[in-house]
Structures are given as structure tokens and as C-alpha cells.
């Protein structure tokens, strides 16, 4: 079976090639992660120190306030805020998205295309253009420096894309299945949860991961709408490492690792759904 061996060698070679390419693409990001484990002096040295001479967890220790004269950065509060805000806004966006996506997929109604386009266009407004008016309205109703204030904003940011993905996914599910269930005595509501929702799970999961990453990483609006540990998220916390005159790049990198790792784990876990979800959603319907 010479041919199959050659084939296998070829496959391994392709894999290796792709792997190396991916790693090269990741280098700038990997460098950040490497920086997180090195002292600041070494990071900024010239001539450069390529291989870490004193790797360690010093930067993390500093963040949590062990040793050093720096006041601890309230990382756990930021982390909790980020998690609460990103998860809550993702769940709400998915619920609203499911409801809206279902409407677009299953019903004919007036202004359907116009409404759909309008939804999408609402997402094109740059954050920087929204930041002040949103701030002024939020400050009138007490949503500044409150988790709820950010959650509402992120739900709005994520709803258009979520509706789009979920709409495409529902269209893939034959109407007849739900109709059959209704004939069998289910209400439409029951049919949705018994038939359509389980089939759409992958699509919903992929919409969810996009929504989560958007909320988890958002900075422009969060930096305007948060003030203290009541609501500050991790990306805003990155700015704690910049001062009038200095940037603690090593410390910032350590914080970056804290931001990236949970997102990476989550993405790895829902990988399968992500591709499946995007494959069937979106286009064809």
C-alpha cells in the first residue's frame, strides 16, 4: 500500500505546514503571552533579550498585590464584572435573537426586508459616535457605572448579528416538522422548544460565542460607561497599567493573559458547534 503511505506523509506534511503557518500568524500574540512571564526591564532591554533569562510569575504577583509597592489591581472584581456582563448580555441577546430570528424565518409580513436591513444597519454606528449621547442618557437614568448599563448596550450591539445567524439557521429546519408536531397536539410554543430549538442549537451556540467575544473584549463604550470596580471590565482594567508617564507593558501583558485564557477555553469548547452553526446558518436560506 505504497500509495496510502505517500498520502499519509502528504497529509502530515500539509498539517505541519499549516500548523507552522498558524503559529507564525500567532507570533505577535504569543509574544504578548511570553512578555507576561518576564520582568519589565528584560522586555524593554536593548539589545533585546530573545530568550527569557528570568521567567517567572512576578507580573501576576504584582497584579494581585503580592510584593512590590504597587497597590493591587482589583483583578478579581474586573473579572467578575466582565463575566457577569458578557454572559448576561449574551444570554439576553440570544433570547431576543431567537425570537427575532424566528419571526424572520417563519413569517411573511410587511416591511420584512426593510426591517431586516434596518436591524443590520443599526450595528454600523461606530462606538465612538455613540459614546457621548449614550453616556448622557445613561447618566440621567442612573446607568453609569452599573453593570446593567453595559449589559443593555452589549445586548443592542449583538442583537442584529444574532438575529441574522439564527434566522438563517431556522430556515434550514423544514417547516413541516414543526407543523407535524402541532398536528400531534403541541402548541406552536411547545413545538418550538421540542423540535426547532434542539435542531438549532449549533447555530445558537455559534451566535453565542460571537456575542460573548464581542462583549468580553469591548473597550470603547465600556471605558466611557464604567467608573469603578462596580462595573469596570477587564479591557478597561488594562488602562490601569498606563499612567501619565509610564506604561507597565509586562504587567499589561500579564493582565492580557488573564483576559485571553477564559475566552480561549470557551472557544475551544464550543468549536464543534461554531463551525456547524455557521455552515448551516447564514447563507442559503
Amino acid at each position: 500500500m505504497e500509495g496510502s503511505i505517500r498520502k499519509r506523509v502528504g497529509a502530515v506534511a500539509t498539517w505541519l505546514l499549516t500548523f507552522i503557518l498558524m503559529i507564525i500568524i500567532c507570533v505577535p500574540g504569543l509574544w504578548v503571552i511570553l512578555t507576561a512571564f518576564r520582568p519589565n526591564g528584560e522586555v524593554l532591554a536593548k539589545p533585546p533579550v530573545w530568550i527569557p533569562e528570568n521567567p517567572g510569575l512576578g507580573n501576576f504577583a504584582k497584579i494581585f498585590g503580592f510584593g512590590g509597592d504597587q497597590i493591587a489591581i482589583p483583578v478579581s472584581a474586573y473579572f467578575a464584572n466582565s463575566l457577569i456582563i458578557a454572559l448576561t448580555s449574551t444570554v439576553i441577546a440570544l433570547l431576543i435573537g431567537m425570537s427575532g430570528g424566528y419571526a424572520f424565518a417563519r413569517y411573511r409580513f410587511k416591511f420584512k426586508n426593510g426591517l431586516f436591513l434596518g436591524l443590520m444597519l443599526s450595528r454600523t454606528v461606530p462606538g465612538i459616535a455613540l459614546s457621548l449621547p449614550v453616556f448622557m442618557i445613561w447618566s440621567r437614568i442612573g446607568l453609569i457605572d452599573a453593570k446593567m448599563g453595559l449589559i443593555i448596550v452589549y445586548v443592542a450591539m449583538n442583537v442584529p448579528f444574532t438575529i441574522w445567524l439564527i434566522d438563517g439557521f431556522f430556515r434550514q429546519i423544514p417547516k413541516e416538522m414543526s407543523e407535524a408536531a402541532q398536528v400531534d397536539g403541541c402548541t406552536r410554543w411547545q413545538a418550538f422548544w421540542k423540535i426547532e430549538f434542539p435542531l438549532a442549537k449549533s447555530g445558537i451556540a455559534s451566535a453565542g460565542i460571537f456575542a460573548f467575544l464581542t462583549s468580553w473584549n469591548e473597550y470603547a463604550l465600556a471605558s466611557n460607561l464604567t467608573r469603578s470596580t462596580d462595573s469596570k471590565t477587564l479591557p478597561v482594567g488594562l488602562m490601569d497599567f498606563t499612567a501619565q508617564f509610564t506604561i507597565d507593558w509586562a504587567g499589561m501583558s500579564a493582565m492580557a493573559v488573564i483576559i485571553i485564557v477564559p475566552a480561549l477555553i470557551l472557544t475551544f469548547l464550543v468549536q464543534k458547534h461554531l463551525i456547524a452553526g455557521l455552515t448551516f446558518g447564514g447563507v442559503k436560506g
Binding site: 526591564g41 448622557m136 447618566s139 471605558s223 508617564f245 509610564t246
Partner: protein, 443 residues
């Protein structure tokens, strides 16, 4: 507790004067504000944080709680305060402020004359208080001042080859520079891009506007005339721009300078790849710390050099605390602000190289450094004391200062990069600045 008793107490504490170092904090009565929560917004950053560790002491003394609403760098804080003004959410009492930023904020901050007792104010350097005054109102209490002097790598100036080589090329002795012309000569002499640079400058934002401004003054120019007409497109202005441009074109400064801010220049000098570096006092300890700096122990310091008009550059400003007009407990706010700028507090800040605003702290801090055997910081304080006294001047304390600055610096960059001639660039900047001044009602 009434205001007058409080003032008396403050006065009493102030009278102890220099002896205050030895007085334990509990002996000074900062009042009692049990169950009151004071809301504050502070400037953050490694240099400023050690002082905030003292807030707990104040809380213990007064029974009040301090709620730090935000702790950001000044540009972020500035944006936040502007938003607060816009939205009317000035529901906090004490805010960090800066002499360059203060004029923008209009009347949101209280006049501290009468809030802080005269006896306390008398302890502060008159110039620092004068610079903290906007339209006759003392809107801020100076926490520490800042001014730049010229750091250099000592061994370069002691090296015999350098001395001989420099003399042969430029015709005068290689000594720490007295004038900006000499800085230019020496920078070009030492530069060996891309591994070593003669000097460096910050290249964007208000940073380069400030550097341009102080050298403009040193060269006998001025930003505005007495009627607030922009006058920086003068011969002195062109001379100043050319100084930057020549250094940039001859590669005596790093090629990326125009994207540099304070952290880049500070870290650059600490990396030992720059010969001469005009920088703020707050960097002194950092430069001389072997853990952060390659040139620790090899640093010389001279007063900022003179321009062609024989004036030394001395762009200066103070970090300050302000109290809002909308504050619901002015006594508590005043107590905290006084505490954070007290003799003891300023001694804490001085150890990291921040320049005191209370006259007595200068001498006491120096004595402290000498006792600790830190000769470098003694030298730093001696040099900076003279320049604070003789050379310091602030940018125009006008509302649209940042706006004017934003018109100037892109034009400076254009001139340095050779996209425009210095004269064209300055003319364009002056026209734009005139518009800003007209809009702001100065013209």
C-alpha cells in the same frame, strides 16, 4: 463641627511648621466626619499611588469613608470630567487636577481661598499657588510641581576620546551643555543610529507643544501677544522648529520620536541608548534604580539649557487637588485635601522624586536624602529647587489651551517631517489657533 473651628485647627497644625515631621499624624485634628462617605476622583499611576495608601489613615482619624470613584491617567480623567460636566453628574467632592487642565473646567471647582485657611496656604510656595489660580480664583491646591532638567550619561562626558574628538570637530570643550545649541552639537556628535542616539524628544500631543513652547520662550518668542493674537509664527518660532527638525533629519534622535510620549523617552534613556535627555523630576529615582535602568550610577544632571535669548526653558505645572462647587461636605473635602498635601504627605511623595509645593519640605526632604546616603536625590533636589525658583513658567492658563495645542502639534510634525517649511507650518497653526481663540471669545 463648624467651619471656623476647623480652620483654627488647621491653622494650629500648620503653625507647627517644620516640626510637623516629628508630629505623629494622630496629633493633628482633621475633624470628625463619622459615617460620611467622601467621593473622590484621583489620578492613577505608579508614581501617584504611594500617597493614596495614606488615605486609610485619614479615614481612621475622621471616621469618614473615602470612595475612590475612579483612578485613571490625566487624559482619561479629563475626558471623564468633561462628560460629567456635560451630563451634570458632578456628584463627587474631590478631584485630581492639573494647572494645564484646570482652566478648561470653568466654574465647577470652588475657590479655595476661605476654604483652606490662610495659615495653611502660607506654607505653600507663592508661585505654585499663583499658577493654581484661574481668573482670580484658587481652584486647586498644588500637590507637587513638575519641571524638566537635562539628564546625561556622565561617563560619555568624561571619556578622553570623546573630549578630544568633540573639541576637534566643534572647536569648544565637551562639557554638560549650557545652551540648546550645544545640546544640538553634542547630540549629533554622540549619535550613532540605530544603536545610540544623541538625545530625544516627545513627538506628539500636548507633550511636543509644551516642549516647543518652552524653547520658543527660551529663544525670545511667545505664543501670544498681550491681546491673545498668536505670535508663535515668528523668527523665534522658526528657529525653534528648526532645532527639532535638524536633530530629526540628522538621525540624532530615534526615528520613531514623532510617535513618542513620556514613557518612550523615559524608558529610552533608562535603556542607556540616549546621551542627553530633558526630563521631569519624577523620573530621577527610576533612572538611578539598577533594576530598571542600565545607567544607574552614571547619571549627570544640569539645569535646562538656555535658548538664543539667554532664557532657560522651564515649562512647568503642578498636579493639584480641587473641590467641586457641588460638594455636599466642603469641610470633609478640605480636610482630605489638606491632609494629602500636608508636610508629611509631601515627604512621602518627595522620596519618589516628586517636587514639593510646601516650601519647608524642600529642605527637609533634602536632609532626609542626605541622611539616607542618597546623594543623587540630593543633587536632583538641589538642581530642581533652583529651576523651580528661577526658570519655571506655565503655559497660558486659558480655557482653550488643549485645543490650541491640538492645532499646533500636527503642524510641528509636518514641519519636522519636511512636509511643509517651518514658516508655512507655523503660519497654518497660527491661523487655526486664531480661529480657536476667536471661538473661545478671547479675540
Amino acid at each position: 463641627m463648624t467651619k471656623s473651628i476647623f480652620k483654627t485647627l488647621l491653622a494650629a497644625s500648620a503653625l507647627t511648621g517644620i516640626a510637623a515631621t516629628s508630629v505623629a499624624a494622630e496629633d493633628v485634628d482633621y475633624g470628625s466626619f463619622a459615617d460620611y462617605t467622601l467621593r473622590v476622583k484621583l489620578i492613577g499611576g505608579a508614581q501617584y499611588e504611594p500617597l493614596y495608601a495614606r488615605i486609610a489613615e485619614w479615614e481612621a482619624m475622621t471616621g469618614a469613608t473615602v470612595d475612590v470613584l475612579s483612578r485613571k491617567n490625566h487624559f482619561e480623567l479629563d475626558r471623564e470630567i468633561k462628560q460629567d460636566i456635560a451630563a451634570g453628574t458632578l456628584d463627587w467632592c474631590v478631584g485630581s487636577n492639573h494647572t494645564s487642565f484646570a482652566p478648561q473646567y470653568g466654574s465647577i471647582y470652588r475657590d479655595l481661598n476661605g476654604v483652606i485657611s490662610e495659615a495653611t496656604l502660607a506654607e505653600f510656595q507663592p508661585l505654585a499657588l499663583q499658577n493654581s489660580t484661574v481668573e482670580g480664583r484658587l481652584v486647586q491646591l498644588p500637590r507637587h510641581s513638575d519641571i524638566s532638567n537635562l539628564y546625561y550619561i556622565k561617563s560619555l562626558f568624561e571619556d578622553a576620546d570623546n573630549k578630544a574628538g568633540f573639541k576637534a570637530e566643534y572647536g569648544y570643550d565637551l562639557l554638560p551643555p549650557e545652551t540648546w545649541e550645544q545640546v544640538k552639537d553634542q547630540a549629533m556628535f554622540f549619535a550613532d543610529a540605530p544603536t545610540f542616539y544623541g538625545t530625544q524628544f516627545v513627538g506628539k500631543d500636548e507633550a511636543i507643544t509644551g516642549r516647543f513652547y518652552e524653547m520658543l520662550v527660551a529663544n525670545g518668542g511667545a505664543l501670544f501677544d498681550d491681546e491673545w493674537n498668536p505670535t508663535f509664527n515668528s523668527a523665534a518660532g522658526v528657529e525653534t522648529v528648526n532645532w527639532f527638525k535638524d536633530l530629526y533629519e540628522s538621525k540624532a534622535v530615534p526615528a520613531g520620536s514623532l510617535n513618542y510620549l513620556w514613557d518612550d523617552t523615559g524608558l529610552g534613556f533608562a535603556s542607556g541608548t540616549v546621551a542627553l535627555n530633558l526630563d521631569w523630576a519624577g523620573w530621577a529615582s527610576f533612572f538611578n534604580d539598577p533594576e530598571n535602568s542600565k545607567i544607574a550610577g552614571d547619571i549627570g544632571l544640569v539645569r535646562a539649557p538656555k535658548g538664543s535669548a539667554g532664557i532657560r526653558s522651564g515649562w512647568s505645572g503642578s498636579h493639584t487637588f480641587s473641590i467641586t462647587e457641588s460638594c455636599d461636605n466642603v469641610d470633609a473635602a478640605a480636610s482630605l485635601v489638606t491632609f494629602l498635601t500636608s508636610h508629611e504627605s509631601q515627604m512621602v511623595e518627595a522620596t519618589s522624586g516628586l517636587l514639593p509645593t510646601r516650601a519647608a519640605v524642600w529642605g527637609d526632604a533634602k536632609a532626609q536624602f542626605a541622611a539616607d546616603g542618597n546623594d543623587f536625590l540630593v543633587e536632583v533636589f538641589e538642581t530642581y529647587a533652583i529651576s523651580m525658583e528661577e526658570d519655571a513658567f506655565t503655559p497660558p492658563l486659558i480655557t482653550p489651551w488643549i485645543e490650541v495645542s491640538n492645532e499646533i502639534w500636527p503642524q510641528l510634525q509636518a514641519a519636522i517631517l519636511g512636509e511643509k517649511t517651518p514658516q508655512e507650518a507655523l503660519d497654518d497653526a497660527a491661523d487655526a489657533a486664531r480661529l480657536v481663540m476667536e471661538d473661545a471669545g478671547y479675540l
